[in-house]
């Protein structure tokens, strides 16, 4: 790693990343807004990770999955069932198996990853709109399973999960910074693992499968297996985020995996850009920033209309931004950023490929 050999773009990006990392590391210690650290940034880490699983599948596997939210929620529900205890003062729903939280954590991640592998094996032979529909089906199955099987969830879901954390996290309310740093650490871990995976022979082959599945198959690569394993890895990432979310929110319910939530995760990924992993966290940050401030920000010039922005309608604003992103920069904010450094002019009437341009895997 020799900075003198970096391009200007690499220098700027890595500089920004370093500054951002320093800021998020010192944020709680510096005593800055705890609402930001314990809500906006924490949600950014968690949902960014879930969105990163979607971006990973899209950017490196060519699979836009709508099942990531379902896997995210399933991890939380599985953890809730395994870890919580019933009885007076306890949470009121679920199996209440009362496992040690660390064991339950491992169990939730393993089971969710297995669900991902099974779901991936079924969906791996389809592509495009059919893959999208199959993964949407997984999402719907998750909603109805959780809503209907009242033994494990029911419409209300499982509450009080925040009381069941491993000792090394402790009480997330008494020591909220611990969950913050754990989420930050897991986020960095997820990012590094994704970057590593895409550079391994498996990752390179996955990108080959993405670009030319027929050619890859004729060269002897097992295309469905690569896709299945990628889907399983995506489920692993979503599971990490799902358990963190369960601790953060304290309650997981079918509402966490329903269609609006599925679309929200897709919106985060699209805002950030489906081409670069970093975009997942950028998209999540922008999403939560708007969600938290749009309903209460007043007197904003031009769009305040004398009150809150668009009357406090978050959905209106996020819809407009989503449309703008799709029209102006289909590669999201990361694509917009990339264009700042792109000196080549796109040919008029330019050919934009249907598949997103991707980062080189080197």
């Amino acid at each position: 790693m020799n900075p003198s050999t970096w391009t200007l773009r690499q220098q700027v990006e890595r500089g920004i990343a370093a500054v951002a990392l320093v800021i998020v590391i010192i944020w709680p210690a510096a005593g800055w807004s705890s609402y930001w650290s314990h809500t906006i940034l924490l949600e950014t880490f968690i949902f960014g990770m879930a969105a990163a699983s979607l971006v990973f599948l899209s950017a490196y596997g060519g699979m836009v999955s709508l099942a990531q939210t379902a896997l995210f929620g399933m991890a939380g529900i599985i953890f809730g069932n395994l870890a919580t205890k019933g009885g007076p003062g306890g949470t009121s729903k679920g199996l209440h198996l009362g496992w040690d939280p660390t064991v339950a954590l491992i169990g939730a991640i393993v089971l969710t990853t297995m669900l991902g592998l099974i779901g991936g094996a079924v969906a791996a032979r389809s592509a495009g709109i059919y893959f999208l529909m199959i993964t949407l089906t997984y999402s719907v199955i998750a909603v109805y399973t959780l809503g209907q099987v009242t033994k494990i969830s029911g419409f209300s879901g499982i509450g009080g999960i925040n009381n069941y954390t491993p000792g090394w996290i402790g009480d997330v309310l008494a020591h909220p910074n611990r969950l913050y740093y754990v989420a930050l650490g897991v986020t960095l871990f997820a990012y590094v693992v994704i970057r590593y995976i895409v550079r391994t022979p498996f990752g390179i082959a996955l990108q080959g499968v993405r670009d030319e599945p027929i050619r890859a198959a004729s060269l002897g690569f097992n295309v469905p297996l690569h896709r299945t394993l990628a889907f399983g890895f995506g489920a692993f990432l979503a599971a990490l985020a799902g358990v963190l979310y369960a601790w953060f929110a304290g309650q997981v319910s079918p509402g966490d995996v329903d269609l609006p939530q599925t679309i929200n995760l897709l919106i985060m990924a699209v805002i950030g850009g489906l081409v670069r992993i970093e975009g997942a966290w950028v998209g999540a940050f922008v999403f939560f920033l708007m969600q938290n401030y749009i309903t209460s920000s007043t007197h904003v010039p031009l769009i305040g209309f004398g009150g809150t922005i668009f009357g406090g309608s978050f959905n209106t604003l996020i819809g407009i931004i989503f449309l703008a992103i799709v029209v102006v920069s289909p590669d999201g904010l990361m694509g917009l950023w990339g264009r700042l450094f792109n000196t080549r002019r796109r040919p008029k009437g330019g050919e934009r490929t249907a598949a997103p341009a991707t980062e080189p895997a080197n």
Partner: protein, 465 residues
């Protein structure tokens, strides 16, 4: 690398985005240290109960106006805001209105926004059952904040979860139905009945009240059917109900848009609805039921909502007159309005006693006994039990055609001092209401045999027989 005009345009867009982010971030650092009690009103502005937004806010703000000098910004639209609220020398500021959609995920977001970003000391709310389960768990985890339930009716928040800093000055969904089973047993002669209930916490709690009350006097529930919330085609669930010749009647606990759809599916399967064979919970008579649902079942008995529309005595008439003056467009007999009113009233009393202190001091100062306009027994005082849950009079109703042709619920029975336990059937150690909870058991409820007949808006001394 060469930067050209195109790059500068892109850069300009990024600068604008960065500036917007910075602007929001700056706001995040701002904080206020004025000695103001910050109150958040959590309700729904989306989903099935979106219509409750201004109703709930109107109820709470009516109490702030009546007991804490609040001045509304608009008599037509409560959510326009209220200023000048103070108790003694303690100013109260409404820092925000929560905008839920009766699901947990948005309750999580909105609760955190109100209590952590806007830093409210007290929450009045939420509106619906599942939200209340989340808020109760949240309250348990945030002991320095105070939570006064708005109008949510799930049992769990004050029975199984019951955090010390959470208060509910109205009945839960089961309490609201106290007496309806006895009414079916004695007035309609039901012995065997089936029940169809929404498959979520409020549906289960509301159904639990009907089942418990009916079984307590000797009735039997032969079948329980659970359509999921937001079902559109109820035919498969109606077919699960025993046909009319096998039961004496049906209890309906299907809400929102589902009520009319479920009744229609029944009509298609078994013909016209017989009002003597069908009893609904509050969804037959309130929350927009008057237009589509009530006309289908004129004459049917309806479970209560802790209020007594059409009953007159000085205290309740004074409440109605004041509330109507505040917000003329609101139905002040609606449980949504009234329950939020009671919550805010309790808060003003608590703050007066605590001298403006919040947290544990406010927990201790909040009234354990409070005068309620709809309350008759116990000297007109709604009292709280040891889990800070109201023991409250209930009123069972019948749908009656009015002289103007509309259909409205009219009080027919008065059930004094209903507590949450139903004679010990519900306990903190018992499972919360669910598909099979409670079991059908003959028990002695405190109000059994004490239900009084209400005729022409007057509570009589005649006992229901």
């Amino acid at each position: 690398m060469k930067l050209n005009l195109r790059n500068w345009k892109t850069a300009a867009v990024l600068v604008v985005i960065s500036a917007a982010v910075a602007m929001f971030a700056t706001g995040a650092f701002a904080s206020s240290h004025a000695k103001v009690v910050k109150v958040a009103i959590m309700t729904d502005c989306k989903g099935a109960f979106a219509f409750g937004y201004d109703v709930d806010i109107g109820g709470a703000q009516t109490a702030f106006a009546q007991f804490a000098h609040g001045v509304t910004k608009s008599h037509a639209k409560p959510s326009a805001g209220m200023t000048g609220i103070h108790v003694g020398t303690t100013p109260i500021k409404i820092v925000g209105y929560g905008c839920g959609n009766d699901t947990v995920p948005l309750a999580v977001t909105e609760t955190k926004r109100l209590m952590e970003k806007l830093n409210a000391d007290v929450m009045i709310g939420p509106l619906s059952g599942d939200e209340a389960v989340y808020v109760a768990n949240y309250a348990k985890a945030h002991p320095t904040k105070v939570f006064i339930n708005g109008t949510a009716g799930s049992q769990d928040p004050t029975m199984q979860i019951a955090p010390k800093n959470q208060f509910r000055y109205h009945g839960d969904g089961a309490q609201w139905n106290a007496g309806i089973g006895e009414l079916a047993y004695k007035k309609l002669g039901w012995r065997k009945a089936a029940i169809i209930m929404d498959d979520y916490s409020f549906g289960w709690t509301s159904a639990a009240g009907m089942i418990a009350d009916f079984c307590a006097v000797g009735g039997q529930i032969t079948k329980r059917v659970f359509p999921p919330l937001n079902t559109t085609d109820y035919a498969p669930f109606i077919r699960q109900l025993p046909p009319p010749n096998q039961v004496d009647g049906y209890f309906w606990v299907v809400g929102g848009t589902g009520t009319a759809a479920a009744l229609k599916a029944y009509e298609q399967a078994y013909g016209k609805l017989d009002p003597k064979k069908n009893i609904g919970n509050l969804f037959f008579g309130f929350l927009g039921a008057d237009k589509v649902v009530a006309p289908k079942v004129v004459g049917a008995y309806v479970g209560g909502f802790g209020n007594n529309p059409g009953v007159h005595y000085p205290k309740v008439d004074a409440y109605r007159a004041y509330a109507k003056k505040m917000y003329p467009a609101q139905n002040v007999d609606d449980g949504f309005f009234y329950n939020y009113y009671m919550a805010a009233k309790a808060l003003t009393i608590g703050l007066a006693k605590s001298g403006g202190a919040v947290g544990a001091k406010l927990d201790a100062a909040l009234p354990r006994s409070i005068d309620g306009p709809f309350q008759i027994s116990n000297g007109g005082q709604v009292t709280l039990d040891s889990r800070r849950q109201a023991i409250q009079d209930q009123y069972q109703l019948q749908l009656v055609k009015q002289p103007n042709g509309s259909i409205a619920p009219v009080v027919v029975a008065y059930v004094p001092a209903v507590d949450q336990s139903f004679g010990g059937l519900f306990k903190p150690t018992s499972p919360p209401p669910g598909r099979t909870q409670p079991p059908c058991k003959k028990v002695k409820t405190p109000w059994q045999g004490k239900i009084k007949v209400v005729t022409n808006g007057k509570v009589t001394n005649q006992i229901l027989k």
